[in-house]
């Protein structure tokens, strides 16, 4: 089942010779005896038992609702729990994302796994540790303060008496509420948190021992493949079952409304059947013309306005005296592009559904599947098994629904593997973003007002309808969930008058969901580029400009900017560079944000080279300065930052969903190219570690700065502003061509 990743278990009782006293915490708490404990495991968020258990060998099991998406979270949570409990990391195992065993810590998104999930686990561990110390103290007749813990062994400082966790609790429930006031370990005493611990899962990934969901097998499992419509909204009109007569081992062709799938004994037969089956579908054209996308976005009905900041009276100031600046920015529709297409295994047993998938939100998926199949919630169990990186809500949940539908139809466990075309074509997309910005500059070159309007779909980070439910017309929630995309529409700079409004659109062309740094990336792109435009208009150095408009009380922010200038050896001068000569030109650009205005600080500088004849941009280097407060694992944070930079350079330079009136047309890597090795920039990172500060997330914030850093660098190199992501060659060439004359050679 769910693989084990901690090194092999070792016996903790190292000949301590302690007297083993069978003891029940539940008795001490005045509750029922151990024998009366209910058989099922608590998953209540306020219960210690929901988060951890210690067995009779002293092995600690952590139950995490947050899952490791390839981000190192499993290791980070192990570090936190081990340090808080004072046990070695080797004694800790993490079980993640199992709705029967783990509490609902919320979906694994928003860079909150450590910030929220880790903190919850830390608090549960602190509560448990305190309770165990209390018990040991009572037994030994000393004060809890007279005890020390090391490697799960509690020792009295006076030297008289030892208890192990195993002896005190081994295998029994704590029956304790998590105490929010239980004191947590002093950061100065951390032995494991803050250390660059190597990830527990990586060795298995290098030897082939690691089990991904794509490797996951259950006995009696059959292979399923889906046959998706050729157009969104197309109706399935006919299926010629005889067309796959010669494919061996076909178990069943499953047709339910517009849902079509095949189940076979072998995987290859399922692939062939899905490929060869002859079907007819109705025509359907529900998409706008790609060439008119921004017109479409701008004229989509607005359901409401979210005013995300309103300081002073920006509209009046902008209408009044002063130099005006205005610009429109846009950011294309993109796809998650998971390298391993979505995959799931489902089985119905006695009418109950068990679903294994790589969903980042198994508790929510459980509710959706229960709704879809009209089952009571208790009859559905969703279990997380690592997949490839999903970067948000991709097709994992949909594959789970596909597998469940097929499993129900054939009465056996079914594994569904999405093809590359299924993944690129049918996973939900990051919606298009259109932004208008305006600013007013007075006679002393001071920015007096900033106004921005964001055209983005309504909704938040809720559930996304399952494709199978839609196709088979089964119950679904019909929500539009693009993610928390109003974030970072507001800016942190100190202008006297600021108004930022998000126009929430009624709909968006594709089924939407959040992709890494949703909204924050698009919004910061527009904000940080437009800020750069203003800096250029007043002939100011862009980095100095940002410093000048940052609240002087924001020491951490100013620190980041200061470190950035030094790390990147920033040359103080306005943009663009002068003179601009020759075909290959170089430039640098900076970008800065306090993520969501409330947490992680990041500053970045990009160095680029532009070929003015072809429009090709080469990002040669990125500098990043990162302050996320207390760092649990610096190696892990650096890896995430590198990932943010490289993945987002790809999104900024190349990535754009292509589509016709009926359907996505970028259905594979040849039509949706991503960054390759020769194009990867050098990256230099400086982490600012503040162990006494709050712990903030690191998985996404850096990504928010990448597109604007690049655009600002291209401006520096060429004098031309790129306002439309992706910065494809054709667009860049056109922008260069319609710009003013370059200097003579």
């Amino acid at each position: 089942m769910n693989g084990r990743f901690a090194p092999s278990r070792r016996d903790l009782l190292q000949g301590a010779g302690a007297c083993v006293v069978a003891f029940s915490l539940a008795e001490a708490a005045g509750g029922a005896t151990a024998q009366d404990l209910p058989p099922s495991k608590s998953v209540a968020l306020d219960q210690v038992d929901a988060f951890l258990a210690i067995d009779d060998k002293g092995m600690v099991t952590i139950y995490a609702g947050k899952v490791d998406l390839g981000t190192g979270v499993r290791t980070g949570l192990t570090q936190i729990a081990a340090d808080e409990l004072d046990v070695p990391m080797a004694s800790v195992e993490v079980i993640q994302g199992d709705t029967a065993l783990t509490p609902d810590q919320g979906p694994t998104y928003g860079s909150l796994s450590i910030q929220n999930g880790g903190v919850q686990i830390r608090q549960a561990a602190a509560t448990a540790r305190a309770a165990l110390l209390d018990q040991a103290a009572a037994r030994l007749g000393v004060a809890p303060g007279d005890l020390t813990v090391a490697n799960g062994v509690i020792t009295a400082k006076s030297g008289n008496g030892v208890f192990t966790y195993a002896e005190l609790i081994g295998g029994k429930h704590f029956d304790l509420k998590v105490n929010p006031a239980a004191p947590t370990k002093n950061p100065a005493d951390y032995k494991i948190v803050g250390k660059p611990i190597e990830r527990l899962d990586i060795p298995g990934k290098l030897t082939g021992e690691f089990t991904y969901i794509q490797d996951f097998r259950v006995p009696g499992m059959l292979h399923g493949r889906v046959v998706r419509p050729p157009a969104i909204g197309a109706r399935l009109e006919s299926v010629d079952e005889s067309s796959i007569e010669n494919v061996p081992g076909i178990v069943k062709i499953v047709r339910d409304g517009n849902f079509l799938g095949v189940v076979a004994l072998s995987e290859w037969s399922a692939v062939r059947a899905a490929r060869e089956i002859v079907t007819t579908w109705s025509k359907s054209e529900t998409l706008p013309e790609q060439g008119k996308l921004w017109e479409h976005v701008r004229t989509t009905k607005i359901l409401k306005d979210d005013v995300t900041s309103n300081i002073g009276d920006a509209p009046s100031v902008i209408a009044g005296e002063g130099k005006k600046l205005s610009a429109t920015y846009d950011f294309a529709i993109q796809t998650h592009g998971s390298i391993g297409p979505s995959c799931a295994v489902s089985a119905f047993r006695g009418g109950k559904l068990i679903s294994w998938s790589a969903s980042q939100a198994t508790h929510n998926l459980r509710k959706q599947l229960a709704l879809m199949f009209s089952l009571p919630l208790d009859d559905v169990r969703c279990v997380y098994v690592d997949g490839s990186g999903c970067y948000g809500r991709n097709g994992h949940e949909d594959a789970a629904a596909d597998a469940a539908l097929l499993a129900k139809a054939v009465g056996e466990p079914v594994r569904v593997q999405w093809s590359r075309a299924d993944e690129h074509g049918w996973d939900p997309k990051g919606p298009p973003t259109l932004i208008d910005l305006r600013a007013n500059i007075d006679a002393s070159d001071t920015v007096t007002a900033w106004e921005s309007e964001f055209f983005i779909p309504q909704g938040a980070a809720d559930d996304v309808d399952l494709v199978a439910a839609t196709l088979a017309d089964l119950p679904a929630e019909h929500l539009l969930s693009p993610g928390g995309i109003i974030n970072d529409s507001a800016i942190g700079y100190k202008f006297a008058n600021i108004r930022t409004i998000c126009h929430r659109l009624e709909r968006t062309p594709f089924r939407a969901s959040w992709i890494r740094t949703p909204g924050r990336m698009q919004n910061t792109f527009a904000n940080e580029c437009f800020l750069d435009e203003i800096a250029a208009a007043v002939n100011a150095d862009p980095l100095e400009f940002r410093v000048n408009y940052t609240d002087p009380a924001d020491k951490r922010g100013l620190d980041v900017l200061d470190h950035l200038a030094r790390l990147a050896k920033w040359e103080t001068r306005p943009s663009p560079q002068k003179p601009i000569t020759g075909n290959l030109v170089k430039g640098r650009g900076c970008s800065y944000v306090k993520y969501e205005l409330v947490r992680t600080y990041i500053g970045a500088v990009a160095e680029v080279e532009v070929d003015r004849a072809t429009g090709e941009i080469r990002v040669s280097k990125f500098y990043v300065v990162h302050d996320c407060g207390q760092i649990v694992n610096p190696k892990g944070v650096k890896a995430q930052i590198e990932g943010c930079v490289i993945q987002t350079v790809s999104r900024a330079l190349k990535e754009e969903l292509t589509f016709d009136r009926s359907m996505v047309t970028s259905l594979d890597w040849a039509s949706y190219p991503i960054l390759t090795f020769p194009e990867v920039p050098e990256i230099e990172i400086e982490l600012i570690d503040r162990p006494t500060e709050k712990l903030w997330g690191a998985g996404e914030p850096t990504a928010a700065l990448i597109p604007s850093s690049i655009s600002n660098a291209v401006f520096d190199a060429t004098g031309v502003r790129l306002r439309s992501v992706p910065f494809k060659r054709g667009k860049v060439k056109a922008a260069l061509q319609s710009a003013s004359e370059m200097d003579r050679r």
Binding site: L206, G208, I339, G387, S419, R420, G643, A670
Partner: protein, 156 residues
């Protein structure tokens, strides 16, 4: 009709459709985890194995075409069950985020180092181009290959 193939120095008799791409045989019939399904189209490299030592996409190599050629997967690089020099270099550099592409990266990287034991940065980048990574682990992968090539540690 059974077909015999040689994988990781062992002979296996396979009962499957001869048109089956080798990738599915390795993963299903032989239960190997190394080669992975990324696209089935020869576009991403997640399925890379060695065929007579040469890096090859196993997703476009039908079982009927394997013949007597020797197939090596990630598992076949282990030395006495332990990671070989390149695999260890990946572990030491922590060169994996989700890790799904990593088997393909190691197979391709290993072929490079056999042909060119001291490649330049540019040579590594160009050689590795056919293999895609979506998480953005490229920088760490380059460090890992360099580390295995020169045997020197590079600070990450």
């Amino acid at each position: 009709m059974p077909i015999a193939i040689n994988v990781n120095d062992k002979s296996h008799v396979i009962y499957a459709e001869p048109s089956t791409p080798l990738l599915y045989i390795l993963r299903n019939e032989l239960a190997l985890h190394g080669p992975r399904f990324g696209c089935g189209l020869g576009q991403c490299g997640a399925c890379t194995v060695h065929v007579d030592g040469r890096p090859t996409f196993s997703c476009i190599l039908p079982l009927a075409a394997v013949g007597e050629r020797k197939i090596t997967t990630l598992e076949g690089l282990l030395e006495d069950g332990k990671p070989n020099k390149l695999q260890q270099a990946f572990i030491d550099e922590q060169a994996a985020q989700c890790g799904y592409c990593i088997s393909g990266m190691v197979m391709r990287g290993q072929a490079l180092l056999r042909a060119n034991p001291s490649p330049t940065d540019s040579e590594i980048r160009n050689y590795m181009r056919p293999n895609l990574c979506r998480c953005g682990t490229h920088a760490a992968i380059l460090r890992a290959i360099k580390r295995a090539a020169t045997g020197q540690e590079k600070r990450s």
